[in-house]
């Protein structure tokens, strides 16, 4: 049996509003081993909120409730904010959607990567510098010495995202949560970034949670897929069998994509069934 790195049970994310409590995530359960787990869904389906809730990044007035979020048997829900800080980055790290907003614009890239490394280890400056260079090379950045001196605005989107991946992987975490890491990138660059992420995750035996709205990408890249709709998991399937998915929502999403190899006069439009959002969540636990 596969050992579980992360075990999430009955996770709820709630936001109180003037119209009452809005449930962004409603009773989601899943486990993550040393595998690539995809979470797909439309915007507003709660997929990013699930990723953020694991790291306890949801701030008040948002409320996170769960029976447990266990990282190798230790419940993160019970931890104090101070203890959480030792988890974030070091044991679970997260790559956000747009590198433009996650890099500090007034710090050189080298300083940022070295800061990330030295926060979690007692390395000296020169050690951190050498390690950062090595990491930049690992994400296939040409001329890393120059990049270390550069500021984020001098980087293209693809380079920025690779720098983010380097920064997130430098403390050698056990789990990487990637929230739409490639949706701000071009198709050609997308593949490159994914290959790099894939290689590093495999080499280090990490668990990866890959959040995306792109079904084809997830089918290609992940091992297992959770499909979310209105805050619930409606279907769990193996990524290579995604195209044989049963749930009408998954089928609808797949059919609404235009395809080069199968031309159609009209695209199918997703017909939503109110029952989907009331049906209980499917468990993604193994």
């Amino acid at each position: 049996m596969m050992t579980n790195l992360l075990d999430v049970e009955n996770l709820w994310v709630k936001f109180p509003t003037r119209q009452g409590v809005f449930d962004a995530v409603r009773g989601v359960s899943f486990t993550l081993g040393r595998e690539r787990l995809g979470i797909v869904g439309e915007s507003g389906s709660g997929k990013s909120m699930t990723g953020r809730a694991i790291l306890r990044l949801i701030r008040p007035p948002g409320i996170v409730e769960a029976d447990q979020i266990a990282l190798e048997g230790v419940d993160l829900m019970q931890k104090s904010e101070k203890d959480m800080r030792a988890v974030r980055g070091q044991r679970i790290s997260m790559v956000m959607q747009d590198p433009k907003f996650s890099l500090n614009p007034v710090m050189t890239i080298g300083d940022q990567i070295m800061e990330a490394y030295r926060l979690h280890s007692k390395a000296s400056k020169s050690e951190a510098y050498a390690k950062s260079l090595e990491m930049l090379e690992a994400v296939s950045i040409r001329n890393p010495e120059r990049v270390m001196r550069a500021y984020p605005h001098e980087m293209s989107g693809g380079m920025g995202q690779r720098i983010m991946i380097a920064m997130m992987l430098i403390p050698n975490p056990e789990i990487l949560i990637a929230d739409e890491p490639t949706s701000a990138l071009d198709v050609s660059v997308q593949r490159q970034v994914l290959d790099i992420m894939d290689r590093l995750v495999k080499e280090r035996g990490m668990g990866l949670i890959f959040i995306s709205h792109d079904l084809n990408l997830v089918a290609d890249f992940c091992d297992r897929v959770l499909i979310m709709y209105a805050g619930r998991i409606v279907e769990v399937c193996d990524a290579d069998k995604l195209h044989e998915a049963q749930h009408p929502y998954t089928r609808g999403l797949l059919n609404s994509l235009p395809r080069l190899d199968a031309p159609r006069k009209r695209l199918e439009v997703l017909q939503r069934d109110p029952q989907w959002s009331t049906a209980p969540s499917v468990s993604g636990r193994i």
Partner: protein, 246 residues
């Protein structure tokens, strides 16, 4: 007869040392009623071609002919009645403090229409929104609904050529299908000509008859969709792009 002819178009930004050549020697022709696609990675100059045609990129050279009329530095009023554009981001292209009624009404007024009220009603029906959306503000609409309003605004002056700058890239796949169907229906109903920019080859393959592949500001290849589906791209870059998107 051709609706749009672009010959040897160059577009640049900045001057002297800071000059960036965004489009270099682009030429293509779109017959009336055709749907033509421009694909390429970001920074390849595909959107810049659209901006040069509409006058949003002021520094260009070459010849642009719309409906038989060559375009100079100053565009005549008839130009804006013939050519309209739909932008990429429906969150940024609508005025946040104008209701849908004001957005459409103002456009109609500027183009000198008298029966504004009935036209607003008709436009909203045409894009599948209906009357209940007429007095809403952009923040009360979803992304797909906003893009429908942007399309309605572009249709208001009854144009013949519609420039679409990544009209669905900010939308979910399920909403993308609705918008692409709407665009296809509108083209069939009104005999519109489309020039569509997208980075998604499958979207262009679905919507267009022919397409041009751009790289670093140059058009490297023009091919028709049948060749695209058969994976018969000649240029190595378009081959690479095709492989990445299947």
């Amino acid at each position: 007869m051709s609706m749009l002819t672009v010959e040897n178009l160059n577009v640049w930004f900045g001057s002297n040392r800071d000059r960036v050549d965004a489009v270099i020697g682009a030429s293509f022709e779109i017959p009336r009623g055709e749907s033509f696609g421009l694909v390429g990675e970001s920074g390849s100059g595909k959107s810049t071609i659209l901006r040069a045609i509409t006058g949003l990129a002021p520094d260009w050279s070459g010849a642009i002919t719309v409906d038989g009329q060559q375009i100079g530095k100053v565009r005549p009023k008839t130009f804006f009645k013939t050519v309209q554009m739909v932008f990429q981001d429906p969150y940024a292209s609508l005025h946040p403090r104008h209701s849908v009624d004001q957005v459409l009404g103002e456009t109609l007024h500027l183009h000198g229409f008298k029966d504004i009220d009935s036209r607003v009603v008709k436009l909203l029906d045409d894009v599948g929104l209906g009357q209940k959306f007429r007095f809403r503000y952009p923040h009360q609409l979803s992304g797909g609904q906003r893009q429908r309003v942007a399309i309605a605004r572009a249709l208001a002056p009854e144009p013949a050529l519609l420039l679409l700058d990544e009209p669905t890239s900010a939308l979910d796949v399920s909403v993308q299908a609705e918008i692409l169907n709407l665009l296809a229906d509108l083209r069939a109903d009104r005999g519109l000509t489309y020039l569509m920019v997208s980075h998604d080859l499958s979207v262009v393959g679905h919507m267009c008859d022919r397409l041009a592949v751009m790289k670093d500001g140059e058009i490297v290849e023009v091919l028709d969709v049948a060749a695209l589906r058969a994976m018969e791209a000649a240029h190595p870059y378009s081959k690479q792009l095709l492989e990445a998107s299947v």
